[in-house]
Amino acid sequence: MKFGIVVFPGTWSDRDCYYALNDVLGQEVDYIWHKETDLSKYDCIILPGGFSYGDYLRPGAIARFSPVMASIERFVCQDRLVIGICNGFQVLCEAGLLPGALLRNDHLQYRCQRVQLKVENNSSPFTSQCKGEQVLRMPISHYEGRYYADDVTLAELEANNCVVFRYSTSTGDITEAANPNGSLHNIAGIINKKGNVLGMMPHPERACEPILGSNDGNLIWESIVVHL
């Protein structure tokens, strides 16, 4: 099986994703320049973090028109797995592959810190290796990470078990204080209805070894490997 990491102009988590998957977990990985369109040799596509096109206009707004995105839409239709992290989540929302939008943090500042995530759905292809309601530790790093969707969409997300991760305390309580950016319902990560597209603001690739403070992020990669 093979992972493909999309590189837009301005992407920077590509190297960290590569490191976590290849160096730490021994998986096969390629970089995919945003102008490529043939994704046939990949089993899972990663849209990594960064500032594609400088986050100018709106994060993800320009990257979503890159040539690779049309191929990714087809890839999604073929029920194959796509994960968008941070800027990748923003791109997926702009492209309409996930519902909702990521707005500027409620405190209007960039925020880089470690957070706790409660796993709300461990039956998705991305979370099967997590225990039910497990609390994961990994860092966030973003300016525009406040998840927003209208009431109908939110209700639908909740009803279909599409909210995969919520910001929580270390004991798994969903509190306002545990919410680092003002996301609705403390949402940190969601999947689409079919369950083959995950978008999340926190960075699992930065929680890949104990020396970095946590290796909880590997559970996500390991879940994908088990699924495929």
């Binding site: 190297r15 960290d16 490191y19 925020r111 810190q113 860092p139 790093s141």
Partner: protein, 734 residues
């Protein structure tokens, strides 16, 4: 002589310097030529007031591969085929005018200095100074600068590992923004900023050229602030996205043999980039300004040559490789244009089409007059230093706890989390010790090694005693490295002072450099790069002379690193280093200013003890004996102990500590050469043995644990209460 005072003022040259140009050239310079001289003979590019002094700093060393001035940044070898590239630079004046863009473009500039050499930037740090935050304008500057650093650095995906921020009245109109960048490269891929090889092409890459920051080098770095406010030069807006593309493209080129050199465009733009790289290559250059792509219409050759538009690189392409190099830039969606070529006639020839607008021998441009003066110690300094401690009443035991809380809440001591959480410090998957500790630690993937990074500088000490403080700045940075388990490797320094044409300022500069040089020699740490920022004053009020030292250290085994917070309940806490209470250690302290509103006295340091202390601490960490190490700096021993508690989330209890001498000096005095460490009880004897081997005094202070901070008979605080004031002390202003 026909030249007017207005023109000379504009380019910040004196009439004598102008005459020198005419003499050496044998004729009057053209407009473009004069502009080029003005920039290259400025303090910023030419170091005319500081060069003679800077040469006293020790520059060589076994690991040093590139020394200050030889290239854009200094280089040290760390084995495994890897080298580190490091430099710090000031962006004080632009940040005072437009804090957000000024600080952002400061980050952009220092990052270019690093990847220009073929090194991937892996860490940023910043050393910042502002006026007190009670003032709204200072708060605006502080918020803007931090936001600008965050916006630029975060967009590049280079972790910002913190640094330092301090507040004092003297920085009110004149904030300091010093940015440091460190990169890593394979030694074989190092790129030199040298334009050599006749017929090699000069390729300009990146942003189009506009009328940005004209006279930045001469105007900004040689004029005092007030004049400059009137000038209102065009502020530059940075484009970190473009810079990110430049980084990737240039690093790709560094791995090829298609280029002869690279040089970024910084102060004095194309002029300094072309002239400096050609001077290093011992050749000449010819540029046609018509081939430079413009953002604005109607630009003159003068404006094109001196524009400081950001995000531009000059690449010296080997003959025949033009298409290959261009293909790399095309892939990264960057514009590139050939604007000239390398010659062998030793001349800088600038043309506009066929018309020659400047033609000057390279060596004239790069050899500005150097000034050196004899100066005496100013009288006002004697007065400041003759401080009698007994004029200040000691604290009573009852007052000690509340004073500790006040110090923890002081913006100079309080937690900096509200600053560094705005910086992405974890991108890169290398951060092992995060900002907020004595030094940040980054592991180096593919090796067992790690590096430590810190910046230090205490302007208040330097104001009181420039020589001693120069030494302390170096010693403290090395101490912070030692606390993280790293052997100090190299220094990059930024000297921020007032107008050097004033005797007392020149004295500060001279003494400060001499003190730094002494400590560098004693501790055997070379200075590999640096920057001087002079003329930091407003209405004749100069800032505190503020030397900032950035230091990189090496940890051979990443698993043997150390952080500042206590780690285990029941660990014993020891003080390594000087444990006598010296009343004069109150001189220049945060306590003396905060509680008694006094900036007086004189700091002191024993460099022999300092050196033994570092070795002792390093050995204890390498052998895995101690669990935490934190140096005593602003706020003294009590603050250091409290910080170790707060960082580790564990209390401290001392039952049998008989404080000697003055209480305030014992707890809040800022004697140098002290480190607070914690150790498991069963290893305490080993620690004492190591200390005795290095002849470092050691003294048991108490035990880690519980939810309180207790020094029996003096202080009994709940950690929560201490944490609240410490956590919020700076955050409340943001």
């Amino acid at each position: 002589m026909s030249i007017s005072k207005e023109i000379l003022d504009k380019i910040a040259l004196s009439r004598r310097e102008y005459q020198l140009i005419v003499e050496r050239l044998g004729r009057e310079p053209s407009e473009v030529e004069l502009g080029m001289f003005g920039s290259l003979w400025s303090e910023h590019c030419g170091y005319k007031h500081s060069k003679a002094l800077l040469k006293h700093l020790p520059l060589g060393g076994q690991r040093v591969m590139v020394r200050p001035g030889e290239e854009n940044a200094g280089v040290v070898d760390i084995g495994d085929g890897l080298v580190l590239v490091m430099k710090i630079e000031s962006h004080n004046h632009p940040s005072a005018i437009e804090p957000y863009q000024g600080a952002a473009t400061g980050v952009g500039g220092i990052v270019r200095d690093i990847f220009t050499m073929g090194a991937r930037p892996i860490a940023l740090l910043n050393s910042l100074r502002f006026g007190p935050l009670s003032d709204l304008h200072n708060r605006y500057l502080f918020g803007g600068v931090v936001g600008g650093i965050a916006s630029y650095g975060n967009c590049l995906g280079i972790p910002d590992m913190g640094g330092e921020v301090f507040f004092a009245d003297c920085y009110s109109a004149n904030p300091l923004v010093n940015a440091l960048c460190l990169g890593v490269a394979e030694g074989k891929n190092l790129v030199k900023a040298r334009a050599y090889g006749e017929g090699n092409l000069l390729m300009l890459v990146g942003a189009d050229t506009g009328r940005d920051g004209l006279h930045g080098a001469s105007g900004l770095a040689s004029r005092t602030f007030e004049e400059e406010r009137e000038l209102r030069p065009t502020v530059q807006v940075g484009n970190p996205f473009l810079e990110k593309l430049l980084i990737e493209a240039c690093l790709e080129l560094a791995e090829t043999d298609w280029i002869a050199g690279m040089q970024d465009l910084g102060a004095a733009g194309l002029t300094s980039a072309a002239v400096e790289s050609a001077a290093r290559g011992k050749g000449g250059i010819e540029i046609d300004v018509l081939k430079v792509p413009r953002r604005e219409k109607g630009m003159t050759p003068y404006e094109v040559m001196l524009s400081e538009s950001q995000e531009r690189m000059l690449v010296i392409v080997k003959k025949g490789y033009q298409d290959k190099v261009r293909a790399v830039f095309d892939h990264w969606e960057l514009h590139s244009d050939v604007i000239g070529q390398v010659t062998v006639d030793g001349l800088a020839r600038i043309k506009e089409g066929e018309k020659v607008v400047a033609e000057v021998p390279m060596n004239l441009l790069t050899s500005p007059p150097l000034y050196r003066r004899r100066v005496k110690k100013p009288r006002w300094l004697d007065e400041l230093q003759s401080f009698n401690v007994t004029s200040v009443p000691d604290l009573s035991p009852r007052e000690v706890g509340p004073v500790l809380l006040r110090l923890l809440a002081s913006p100079n001591i309080a937690s900096r989390h509200s600053v560094y959480r705005q910086y992405d410090h974890q991108v890169g998957d290398n951060a092992v010790v995060l900002p907020g500790n004595d030094a940040a630690v980054l592991r180096l993937k593919g090796t067992k090694k790690a590096i430590s990074l810190t910046t230090d500088g205490n302007g208040r000490y330097c104001y009181l005693n420039p020589y001693v403080s120069g030494a302390i700045t170096v010693a403290e940075a090395a101490r912070n490295s030692a606390c993280s388990g790293a052997q100090p490797l190299a220094i990059t320094d930024c000297l921020n002072l007032g107008n050097p044409e004033r005797d007392d300022i020149y004295y500060q500069l001279k003494e400060c450099i001499a003190g730094m040089a002494r400590a560098c020699r004693k501790l055997r740490i070379p200075v590999i790069s640096g920057n001087v920022s002079l003329y930091n004053e407003t209405r004749d009020e100069a800032i505190y002379p503020t030397p900032v030292v950035g230091m990189v250290g090496l940890i051979e085994d990443v698993t043997r690193h150390c952080a500042s917070g206590f780690k285990e309940e029941g660990d014993l806490v020891f003080l390594l280093g000087d444990n006598r209470t010296v009343d004069s250690s109150l001189g220049g302290s945060e306590y003396l200013e905060l509680v008694h509103s006094l900036v007086k006295g004189s700091p002191s340091i024993d460099l022999d003890l300092e050196k033994r202390l570092h070795r002792c601490c390093l050995e204890a960490i390498k052998r895995g004996i101690i669990n935490s190490a934190h140096d005593c700096s602003e706020g003294g021993l009590a603050v250091s102990l409290a910080e170790s508690c707060l960082l580790g989330g564990l209390g401290f209890n001392s039952r049998s500590w008989n404080l000697e001498g003055r209480l305030d000096a014992a707890l809040f005095g800022e004697a140098q050469s002290r480190i607070v460490v914690s150790v498991a009880p069963k290893l305490a004897a080993k620690l004492e043995a190591i200390a005795s081997k290095w002849q470092v005094p050691v003294r048991k202070l108490g035990v880690v644990g519980g939810g309180r901070f207790i020094i029996e008979g003096y202080i009994d605080l709940s950690l929560e209460e201490a944490r609240e004031v410490w956590w919020g002390g700076l955050e409340k202003y943001q």
